[in-house]
Amino acid sequence: MAEPAMLPRIAGQADAATSSAPTSGIAPRGAIRLEGISRVFGGGVVAVDRIDLDIQAGEFFTLLGPSGCGKTTLLRMIAGFETPDAGRILISGREMQSVPPHKRPVNTVFQSYALFPHLSVAENIGFGLRMRGVARPERLARTEQIMALLQIDAFARRNPAQLSGGQRQRVALARALVNEPEVVLLDEPLSALDAKLRAELQVELMRMQKRLGMTFIFVTHDQHEALVMSDRIAVMEQGRMLQVGPVLDVYEQPRSVFVAEFLGLSNIWKFTPRPGNMAETAIGALSIATPITTQRTAMIRPEKIWLYPEADAPRDRPNMFAGVVREAIYMGASTQYNVALAGGAIVLALDTNNQAAERSWGPGERVVLELKPANIMLIDG
């Protein structure tokens, strides 16, 4: 699986960057290690603040965060366009700080695609191979292969200006993949596309990555995109990594309020611990499943809240709250209810629209919410 079947590896393709530096022997091809990476811009703006990170070979890893959180700077340091002020970058076990971009075993898919306007699609894709001195017949063969793989062979002779956004995106991806880099860096490559095309390309990118077995580092501010595509994600804020882990872990068990709020919708309350593993919150006392120790914040995802009509709500369970629907936001597959409780606090609840009409509510209607203890997560601080 490590060797992609479609793209035969070329003899002597272990290029300068791959063979020159001594290899530790431990780190597999495509693994990345960041040790204490920092980058401070002029004016003392700390873009990246002492980041340690290990990315496995062949992993689809996403750096997620709001704009200005340092994710792009981090990516640019791995590509070599920015130099870290402190720390080490290792790709496949080799130190990279003093290696210029054109000698690094990585290729980048740029946010603006950065296709050469004076070159045709095929010439754009073959550019990297040409610069590395790959002979013409082989270059053409590999260019054709990758174009077929990404279904852009029909546009081979066109100029980038004649392509649609989605086609350009594919060309930019092909231009990186054709070089068979150890690591592919993607800087918000889908942000300029419309929703439907984006969804298509998300799946295609994932499929391509699994097929070729290269390490992908994907930068995005779109939490949905991060959830869909990644093996693991790192949530960043103000140059720091707040949480790194498999998508499911980060979503289900956010370790900070920021992560909980950035990734999906959430209901978050500060609480005071009460005897019997109870939490006194703004909406009332909640029964909690996990033992309360030092945590002082409780969180529950809207889709984990159960809604009942007032009449047939179960009476004998904990954490039942009666309220009035303020807004019902219909989103097709699901509806988001903003429910005002007796004390005035608003709780978000999400209900899938898989039931008949009697299971939906309009503004002003009374509902009962169930916050099952097992669904309530505790967050430090």
Binding site: N107, F116, H118, R175
Partner: protein, 311 residues
């Protein structure tokens, strides 16, 4: 029935008024410029075209009957038979124009890239330093070069000492001095369009080039140079065309041995008058330049980068 036709005619007259108003606006805005071009460019050119087909009078003035003699003279024929002098002058002017464009390109690229890599606040000032000399009169600046390159000048002494030129002679007059003068005079006209192109350079393409294993010279040619082509083409036109017909520099710095087409034309009106011949030369130059422009335009279109150029 009558109501309907009445409505149509009202509509028609409103349309007519609208059309009149539009014509009025058009003439008021385009009129003055058009007047200027017709009176001071088109008419003189037509008169010149006419003069070019007259015979020469006793005082060099145009005279009847109409004749093709001036045109034959342009091609190099005279009563003494065919001489290559005119052809040589045209070729020399052409070469001077091309080499002036070439030299300004070589000088402009480093200057432009120096400026655009400075902080944005500083760039207009640096650009101003390049443009500033062209705000003084060209004749004055060329006179300054006469001083700098003349027989008694330090530069000439140095050149004499190095054995580059015979003793007691200056670097001026001559081809070299003329080339220096042209390059100096037209440098701003290369720097400015090139700067305009380079300032909106898409640096992400440079990064893409570096990301795809290009560095140094190959990076420049693959990612930077193509983006500057529109500015380069504009610059070539702005430099080569005036340099081709330049009069001041060849007259002051060129000396007698290196006649240029600009001086040749001027002498037909000033020194030994021959208006029909001078007019014919001018027309030839005009057609030659236009033909050059057309060829250039076709070439730049083929390069696929003519959208941004000023031609």
């Amino acid at each position: 029935m009558s109501a309907i036709t009445g409505g149509a005619s009202i509509q028609g007259s409103a349309e007519r008024a609208e059309r009149l108003a539009r014509a009025w606006r058009l003439w008021m805005t385009a009129g003055p410029g058009l007047f200027w071009i017709v009176v001071f460019l088109l008419l003189p050119s037509l008169i010149l075209l006419g003069i070019g087909f007259f015979s020469i009078g006793n005082y060099g003035n145009p005279h009847l009957p109409l004749s093709l003699e001036p045109m034959r003279e342009v091609a190099g024929y005279s009563i003494l038979g065919w001489s290559p002098d005119n052809l040589a002058t045209i070729l020399r002017s052409l070469l001077q124009a091309i080499s002036a464009a070439g030299l300004t390109i070589l000088l402009a690229y480093p200057v432009v890239f120096f400026i655009i890599t400075r902080p944005p606040a500083l760039r207009p000032l640096l650009l101003l330093f390049v443009i500033l000399p062209s705000w003084t009169n060209q004749v004055v600046r060329t006179y300054a070069w006469m001083e700098l390159l003349g027989p008694g000048s330090t530069l000439s002494h140095l050149a004499q000492g190095a054995g580059l030129i015979p003793p007691h002679l200056g670097l001026m007059p001559g081809i070299l001095a003329m080339q220096i003068g042209l390059t100096y005079n037209y440098l701003p006209y290369m720097v400015v369009p090139l700067y305009a192109a380079a300032e909106k350079l898409d640096w992400s393409l440079v990064e893409a080039g570096r990301d795809l294993y290009a560095s140094g010279r190959r990076l420049f040619w693959s990612a930077v140079f193509p983006q500057t082509i529109p500015g380069l083409l504009s610059g070539i036109i702005l430099v080569a065309i005036p340099a081709f017909g330049d009069y001041v520099v060849p007259t002051l710095l060129g000396g007698g041995k290196s006649m240029m087409i600009g001086s040749l034309i001027a002498s037909q009106f000033l020194d030994t008058p021959n208006w029909p011949y001078g007019a014919a030369l001018t027309i030839f130059m005009l057609i030659f330049t236009c033909a050059g422009l057309i060829v250039f335009r076709v070439m730049s279109k083929r390069l696929g980068s003519s959208e941004g150029s000023m031609i």
